[in-house]
Amino acid sequence: MITEPGNGAKGEIILEMRGLRIEGQADDQWHEIVHDIDLDLRRGEVLGLIGESGAGKSTIGIAAMGFARPGCRITGGSIVFDGIDLRAASEEEKRKLRGARIAYVAQSAAAAFNPAHKLIDQYCETPVQHGIMPRAEAEAAAKDLYRRLQLPDPDNIGFRYPHQVSGGQLQRAMTAMAMSCRPDLIIFDEPTTALDVTTQIEVLAAIKDIVRQFNTAAIYITHDLAVVAQMADRIMVLRNGYLIEEGGAGDIIAAPKEEYTRQLVAVRSFRKESQVEIDQDRPLLKVENVTASYGGLVMVLKDVSMEIHKARTVAVVGESGSGKSTLARVITGLLPPLEGKIYYGNEEMPAALKHRNPEQLRRMQMIYQMPDTALNPRHRVREIIGRPLEFYLGLRGLDREERIRELMSMIELEADDFIDRFPGELSGGQKQRVCIARALAAEPELIICDEVTSALDQLVAEEILKLLQRLQDELHVSYMFITHDLATVRAISDEIVVMLQGEVVEQGDKETVLTPPHHEYTELLLSSVPEMDPDWLDNLLAKRECGVA
């Protein structure tokens, strides 16, 4: 157990689900997506729901409010909240509970806040509507909560609009809003997934603290076992709507019983083994003193230099806004730099895309973060992979077909099954594999991977990383790996470039960068990556406080 409740008794059951079954609609047919789930939650307890996408964790979380998303319906079982049967309750009764006694914190606070109203107005709406306290009292309570959640300038921050505060602050303001009526139960639906690691820490600490202070019961939904280990007393592991394993947070991490849970715990253990000798004098790609901006006002890249060698992986790490994706755009020619040059081999690359010839374009390929938008939904896999073959290599007819099948076997997709499918008929991981095959079809020497695993579930992401590594071993391509996830960096990189606000703060071999002494920003990044240890967050916060003091 990681926490003891601050006050109030833990023990009384606040939420009880028995044999919950939920169906979802797809292609005008109903399929069961949550199968026979039992769930108990006691006052003051934090329950972690973990699983990959499609595991039904959000659906169960929302069902705790007696609600089903459009296109879903609750078909069986019981949901009892503090003695009230939510399935039998009328819409009016449920409406009284929601917001006042059960609150919900959504994944994207930016999307959940109404951009047209100030934060504090949105905070006050719920308690005033439910008649719990008058407006002035609610405002005072809001400021108090903002202070407890360690928001900067708590007395005035509420009078800003959502777009005027940062993502992490917004997520904390959302938590404050959920707390406004002192609910008995809060449902956190992936509250930190969209945040940078350094911001994630602040939000996690704030949430943990506030839940402890008010002795609120909480359901914490996430796909990241390391995160949930910090927050939850008890963890339920879900997969495809079935309960796989349930137990105390420490037990699940230390001694997982089921194979699937073991995989989840072990997920970040993959490490690159091979090392390639490099020819220091002849880098494949050389970026020299590049400065770039969108529109000329704010410099997004300031004097950036880096090198990529043959068959090596260079990881570019940084938080959102650090300019790492912009660097990729400069290298590909989508954004011509204001100053600086890009050399490929010995020749200087033309700055703008339209001045590069097909041969120069062929040697550099790109893989995107979101495979959903990177694949044309109206093209079949055959055409997606076949087009670069036709365009760059002039392959047609049977040659082309043969090569497509060869590429598909390289990315471990069964050609007969998948070649005639549309992207909509593939899973996220399969789509990303098709993107990889499309890049490989051009027979490139350098592949720029822009956050290729961050939209994927952890197990799937690891498969993709292994695939990329295998392809590098076989084909000796170089990767420029843009990511914010240090676990990925540890797994796959040879060299690391750390970026902060458009500048390179540290770069070098993986060992050099990852072993102390670090640059202080690198230190902050490294220490912010959650570990599979329930006490990690508490220890870290304690350590940082000491450091400050």
């Binding site: 020619g333 374009l361 760059y392 051009a442």
Partner: protein, 397 residues
């Protein structure tokens, strides 16, 4: 005999298309033989009809062993045979206008194929959509086979002016003594045909311009956008009247003017839809690959912009159609003696004042107006359904 040889040929199951082609060819051959032998003799004709029925039943039983979607093929074959039956019964008319007859056959088969192909969606369509589809289909069939259906020729004066309904003239005669029904049927052909061609042209111009503006941006977008703004700033009916007065009223000029004026609306839509598509990563991938503008527009943008464009096509067709009728009503559209619904309303407009004394005579000018209204309503029903389907709206209960 043909059947047995075919059976042995198909026993090895070659590609489905080859087998279908073979079957269709045999069909065609047998039917032509029948039609030729039936030309003048009624008894032979009746015998022939019976034989066709027997033949189709046999064919269907034979097919049901071979083809997967028997029901679909049954529908296609049955409709084809029904058409052929009607052709045999009215052989004189059908043989006099072979092109219309063939086009009608093509249409019937195309519709049957489409119904089979999209049966899954169609079976879930609301009754309004079905109504719209049936109305459109009937109009198109009438337009295609106008000379066969119409009792007289388009411009022939066949009786006294303003004769009443019934007898030789099913819907009476117009102000010059031409048969009203005939004029309505030919009007369908002229009005729908010209409106269709004009809409297609408008879409080609507008969609291409809009996608180009979206894909290139910058000054291309600026110039095209401003040109369209200028065109849209002038009331289109007045602009069209002006241009027609200057350029004269021939059908090609009419089509081009309507197409250009209407393409401005298509441009706006195509540009807005295109803007959302060109920012997607897959378009960036194509650009990084070095693809040209034409490829990006045709292969990346267009397929993803189809649903809103198709819906807009339906609506735009209605507007073009009404616009054309309005122009004809004003005397600058399709010129007499060519039959056209808009000008038919105008020609007989004076009769509307007789509606109190003689109802039949009075509603005469409303017949072409009703023809216009019915088609417009039908197209709108279909477009509504299509939009509802593609927008992914779900009726929450």
């Amino acid at each position: 005999m043909a059947v047995t040889t075919l059976e042995s040929a198909l026993a090895t199951q070659p590609s489905p298309w080859a087998s279908r082609l073979a079957v269709a060819a045999v069909h065609f051959f047998v039917l032509v033989l029948f039609l030729e032998s039936l030309r003048d003799n009624t008894w032979w004709a009746i015998l022939g009809i019976l034989l066709i029925h027997v033949y189709s039943v046999l064919m269907l039983r034979f097919w049901s062993n071979l083809e997967r979607s028997t029901a679909g093929d049954t529908l296609i074959v049955t409709l084809t045979l029904e058409y052929v039956l009607i052709a045999v019964l009215f052989w004189d008319r059908f043989s006099a206008w072979p092109w219309s007859a063939f086009f009608g056959l093509f249409l019937v088969q195309a519709c049957a194929c489409l119904v089979v192909r999209f049966w899954r969606e169609l079976s879930k369509a609301p009754p309004t959509a079905w109504f719209g589809l049936v109305v459109i289909l009937l109009y198109v069939l009438v337009a295609a086979t106008a000379p066969i259906i119409a009792p007289f020729t388009e411009t022939e004066i066949v009786g006294a002016e303003y004769e009443l309904w019934g007898g030789q003239f099913l819907l009476g005669t117009d102000n010059l003594g031409r048969d009203m029904l005939t004029r309505l049927v030919y009007g369908a052909r002229n009005t729908i045909g010209i409106a269709f061609v004009a809409t297609c042209l408008a879409f080609f111009i507008g969609a291409f311009g809009g996608f180009m503006a979206a894909a290139l941006g910058g000054w291309v977008d600026m110039i095209l956008g401003r040109v369209v703004d200028v065109l849209m700033a002038i009331p289109s009916l007045i602009f069209a009247l002006l241009l027609l007065t200057i350029l004269g009223t021939s059908i090609p000029v009419l089509i081009v003017i309507i197409a250009v004026l209407d393409s401005t609306r298509v441009f706006r839509l195509a540009r807005a839809v295109g803007m959302n598509i060109v920012v997607m990563d897959f378009v960036e991938v194509a650009r990084l690959r070095g693809e040209g503008l034409w490829w990006v527009i045709r292969r990346e943008v267009l397929p993803n912009a189809m649903p809103p464009l198709v819906a807009e096509f339906g609506l735009r067709f209605c507007f073009v159609f009404l616009f054309l009728s309005a122009l004809s009503f004003l005397g600058l559209g399709i010129q007499p003696p060519t039959a056209d619904w808009g000008s038919m309303v105008r020609d007989n407009a004076t009769l509307i004042s007789f509606v109190v004394d003689d109802f039949q005579l009075g509603i005469m000018p409303l017949l072409p107006a009703a023809a216009i209204a019915l088609l417009t309503v039908g197209v709108n029903f279909v477009v509504d359904w299509f939009l509802h389907k593609t927008s992914g709206l779900r009726d929450d209960h």
